[in-house]
């Protein structure tokens, strides 16, 4: 990887509610790859993602995104963030939601259709989001992030509650986007998604316990699967 990393974090310290959620974390995330951020709930995944998109108050350390400090106004059109809970307007239709976000991102309204198709919601455009299922609502939220084809996508558990077929389709969409040169940081707390990633970041109690492709992780730990690899690392004999 001779390009500058899409995300470069050095000695990041974040406190939330008096607790040291990230006690000093350093990592790189590269463009052109799908990086999985894995770890149990409460390990600091969301906090780390919030720091990357520049909405988290941090104590110290540096977070550089696409060569700029996280939170720089210019990045707001180049980085898309999808929160775990669908952050769309429940009382608007799918199309109304996406048109609004498209207007803010200054992309033509035609992009709405492409986004809807990418998350497989055709036929639901005129439906009020409140009447959609939970999985469909989170796909609307994801569609909003795809509108302007951002250089970095930060997705917090985008596949929770989706059926296996749709999950497979979304992961292939993520890889398509990565092949187009984008960087993707995708969090999950289920290890069976880890093998779909190009790179893995295993987070435990705010610390990185592994940062490598799945294959090398298996090799290094001598584990049969990624679940076992994580357990070995968690026990400290990785």
């Amino acid at each position: 990887m001779n390009r500058a990393p899409a995300i470069r974090i050095a000695d990041l310290v974040v406190e939330r509610g008096g607790r040291n959620v990230l006690p000093g974390l350093s990592l790189d995330v590269h463009a052109g790859r799908v990086t999985g951020l894995l770890g149990p709930s409460g390990s600091g995944k969301t906090t780390l993602m919030r720091a990357i998109v520049g909405v988290q108050i941090v104590e110290s350390g540096s977070v550089e995104v696409l060569g700029l400090p996280a939170g720089t106004p210019e990045l707001r059109a180049r980085v898309a963030y999808v929160t775990q809970a669908p952050s769309v307007y429940l009382d608007l239709t799918v199309r109304e939601n996406l048109r609004y976000f498209a207007a803010l991102l200054r992309v033509p309204a035609e992009r709405v259709d492409a986004s809807v198709a990418a998350v497989d919601l055709q036929g639901h455009e005129g439906q009020v989001v409140r009447t959609l299922s939970g999985g469909e609502q989170s796909r609307v939220s994801l569609a909003a992030a795809l509108l302007n084809e951002p250089e970095l996508l930060v997705l917090d558990e985008p596949t929770v509650g989706l059926d296996p077929v749709l999950r497979r389709d979304l992961w292939s969409l993520f890889h398509e986007l990565a092949e187009g040169g984008r960087a993707l940081l995708v969090s999950s707390h289920v290890m069976d998604e880890a093998e779909r990633c190009d790179d893995l970041l295993l987070l435990r109690e705010g610390r990185i316990v592994a940062n490598e492709p799945p294959g090398s992780l298996l090799e290094r730990t001598g584990a049969r699967d990624l679940d076992e690899a994580f357990l070995k690392l968690a026990a400290g004999d990785g």
């Binding site: 707001r76 059109a77 307007y89 429940l90 608007l92 200054r106």
Partner: protein
Amino acid sequence: MTLRATAATSLRVLGQLRRDPRTLALVFGVPSFLLILFRYVFSGQEETFNRIGGPLVGLFPFVSMFVVASITMLRERTTGTLERLMTMPLARGDLLFGYGLAFALVAAVQASLTSAVAFGLLDLDVDGPIWLVVALAIANAVLGMALGLFTSAFAQTEFQAVQFLPAFVLPQILLCGLIVPREAMAPVLEAVSVVLPLTWAYEALSLAVAGETDWRVARDAGIIAGASVVALVLGAATLRRRTP
């Protein structure tokens, strides 16, 4: 700030209201209903109805927009859409002015409907121009919205936000001179009333209703506008891009 983002935000807020016809019916219907009630509570006392009814037409939008705006913004905060907007290319001013435009439009409709009922059906008699009452009603709506957006920052739940109505608005209505003339109040209360924006909103309306449309109305309108700007700036300060 861009016109495109402001206009898109206004349309979005109006779209949300359109999907909630019950709220719209309440916003548009309740002031007329209350005026009809006032009219018959004061039947035989036309003078009292005329003195209170006129200013009420202009004060209703303040109250409704305060509630609607604070709940809408609170929802924006609690559902995560505000956090999403804060990661997107949208200036905080776009968001607040977008809200302002949308609610001013709703207030214009509300004030026009209420005026039509008051002056058309209930024979409310005012000496000043009716358009001035409607214009002041719209200005008060913007003031109510701005205060609602600001106070919503201090509510964590919709229950709390609704309680801000009696906590924040009712004292202003009590002290503005509508119920008891300010000169007749205890000096402390009169002094407090001077710094409350609704006092000046009421003064402008009562002058307009009495046909005394002199420089004081312009001064009061200036105070309403100034207080709205201050509340919007304070509101913008509560919209943090970075949160703990």
